[in-house]
């Protein structure tokens, strides 16, 4: 696995690299000192894994993740941060406490290898578009999630935000629906109207609607109207 280390302290990065020497499955491809540097390196190097410190000058680790489109696997590293630890425990995110214990690191890497195998088995989306196997990071107040796009039923625009529908949660992300639409794999996600993008694998039923539009029913009960303009396109896609 190709890993990027993000930490503002040189010695902390050095220590982690040293510890990772015992794990040949992890290849450290880069080191970033802050969130902006990390953002560039993620886009450039496309790592499979981030070791991410939370408190850094400028932006925090959480802010970095919110800015990224597709989020690689993430292991948080922190010395002691009550608030972050609470978030980790609630959401079962993987984290390492500094100074990092070698045994704990081995456990984490074992867990990661499992996840990675599952990911490789799935087919990767073409030309860096976000497919069903990619995950995004969503933060809403104190709660945060890594959500696999296959679990997202739909996106709904709400002012400058997008509501992400998955499980029983609808957290908001600060993005425009148009920008998101461009990044999503069009074979998996469909722009139903100005307000909605739906996950095609969640579509359960389709009914004709007013003005030549369609009403799409999703598993779980949500209903989304497809505008007339998009309806023809939708029919094309859903028919063989």
């Amino acid at each position: 696995m190709r890993a990027l280390i993000v930490d503002d302290e040189r010695l902390a990065r050095k220590e982690l690299i040293k510890l990772l020497e015992d794990h040949p499955s992890i290849e450290v491809v880069g080191e970033a000192m802050n969130a902006d540097e990390a953002n560039e390196m993620v886009n450039e190097l496309n790592p499979d894994l981030l070791f991410l410190d939370i408190q850094m000058p400028g932006k925090t680790g959480f802010q970095l993740l919110e800015e990224l489109d597709a989020v690689p696997l993430v292991v948080f590293t922190t010395a002691y941060d009550e608030f972050a630890l609470k978030a980790f425990e609630v959401n079962a995110l993987d984290y390492l406490l500094k100074p990092i214990q070698p045994e704990r690191l081995s456990e984490t890497i074992a867990k990661l290898s499992e996840k990675e195998r599952a990911k490789i088995a799935a087919v990767r989306g073409p030309e860096k578009k976000l497919g069903l196997n990619d995950q995004v990071f969503v933060k809403d107040g104190d709660r945060c999630w890594f959500v696999s796009l296959s679990n997202v039923r739909m996106f709904e625009s709400d002012g400058n935000y997008i509501k992400v529908y998955f499980d029983n949660n609808r957290p908001m992300i600060h993005k425009s629906l148009n920008a998101l639409d461009e990044k999503l794999d069009e074979r998996a996600f469909f722009r139903a109207s100005r307000k909605h993008i739906v996950n095609l694998s969640w579509v359960e039923g389709i009914e004709p609607w007013f003005n030549g539009g369609l009403m799409v029913k999703l598993r779980g009960g949500d209903k989304v109207e497809v505008s007339r303009r998009q309806a023809a396109k939708f029919k094309d896609m859903m028919s063989l």
């Binding site: 010695l11 902390a12 220590e15 000058p57 010395a79 500094k98 100074p99």
Partner: protein, 329 residues
């Protein structure tokens, strides 16, 4: 207590003592006991203890009258049974008035004693409560080492063991000094300035390992400062505050400057750090830390010390404490 008093006084009042007389006196005593007992119950129930004196005194006088009359007439059945009853004496107005006012007086004095005792106890309790509140408050306000700092320092030291063994040894000493003064600070309210300065230097030494070229430190200490006593870990906390909210937020890092100066028996401590206080971002944890410092100074020096934190200019935050000379520990 009251019953005994009653018996003794009654015994003294009447010279002749017969067994019947004693039984009657015992009965009388228990009557008074019951009366005061109910009165006490009533006092608590009606919350008379919270009344002001002008309201309380008439209340007590009236109740004493009522109890006096009640006791006088409750005596009669017993004296009838015991054969001590004398109609002429019992219904003689002068006799009634005399004995009733005797009882009234007793009840009145009982009330005075009881209220005095009660207020004294209450005052005592409130004093004890107050001192314990101040003690608890002070110990809560005492600065404690930030765990985030300790674990980050340990992490840096771990990396340093390979890179620079000599420096890592020094770092371990610095960290143990800090831990020691943190443990000692739990036991005392004040420490010598030099002691605190050493802690601050050790602290900055460790943070320099972590921040490397991003942290620069400057000291400008007035030699007269060493005669002063300061609250332990207070300067350290403020320096840490400057690093946490100033330098660690700046990608390029910055400077921490500690300067002291003694003027007219007062120690002025200036801590400058790169950064800027944005109004409103000083809420939550940090705001609490600063409030604690201010509160702690107020409790220790009862208003003679001062504390402020301001933007000195666009690039520097100034934290200032002024502490008076303390002559005894």
């Amino acid at each position: 207590m009251f019953g005994l008093l009653q018996i003794v006084s009654s015994t003294l009042a009447s010279n002749t003592i017969s067994p019947r007389r004693v039984i009657f006196l015992l009965y009388e005593a228990s009557l008074c006991l019951i009366a005061t007992h109910f009165f006490r119950f009533f006092l608590i129930k009606a919350k008379w203890f919270n009344l002001s004196l002008p309201k309380l005194i008439p209340g007590v006088i009236v109740s004493s009258c009522v109890m006096g009359v009640t006791v006088y007439f409750s005596r009669m059945p017993a004296s009838l049974l015991l054969g001590l009853f004398d109609t002429a004496v019992a219904f003689d107005v002068r006799h009634i008035l005399g004995l009733t006012s005797f009882y009234m007086l007793i009840f009145f004095w009982w009330s005075v004693l009881y209220f005095t005792y009660y207020y004294f106890e209450r005052y005592n309790r409130s004093l004890k409560y107050e001192t314990s509140v101040i003690e608890i408050e002070l110990s809560n306000l005492k600065s404690q080492l930030n765990p985030h700092f300790i674990f980050n320092a340990l992490n840096s030291i771990r990396a340093l063991v390979d890179e620079n063994p000599a420096k890592s040894k020094q770092a371990i000493n610095q960290l143990s000094n800090i831990l020691r003064s943190s443990l000692a600070s739990d036991k005392k309210d004040l420490t010598s300035f030099n002691e605190e300065l050493k802690t601050v230097k050790d602290y900055l030494g460790l943070e320099s390992i972590r921040f490397e070229e991003r942290l620069k430190t400057e000291f400008d200490i007035d030699p007269a400062s060493q005669h002063f006593l300061v609250p332990p870990l207070m300067i350290q906390t403020l320096v840490e505050n400057g690093i946490k909210h100033g330098i660690s937020k700046l990608t390029a890092g910055g400077i921490i400057q500690v300067k002291t100066n003694v003027e007219k028996d007062r120690l002025k401590i200036h801590i400058r750090n790169s950064g800027h206080i944005v109004n409103g971002s000083r809420r939550s944890k940090n705001g609490l830390g600063l409030k604690n410092t201010a509160q702690r100074l107020k409790l220790i020096y009862s208003g003679a010390a001062s504390f402020r934190i301001v933007n000195e200019n666009d690039n520097f935050v100034l934290t200032e404490i002024i502490i008076p000379q303390t002559h005894n520990l």
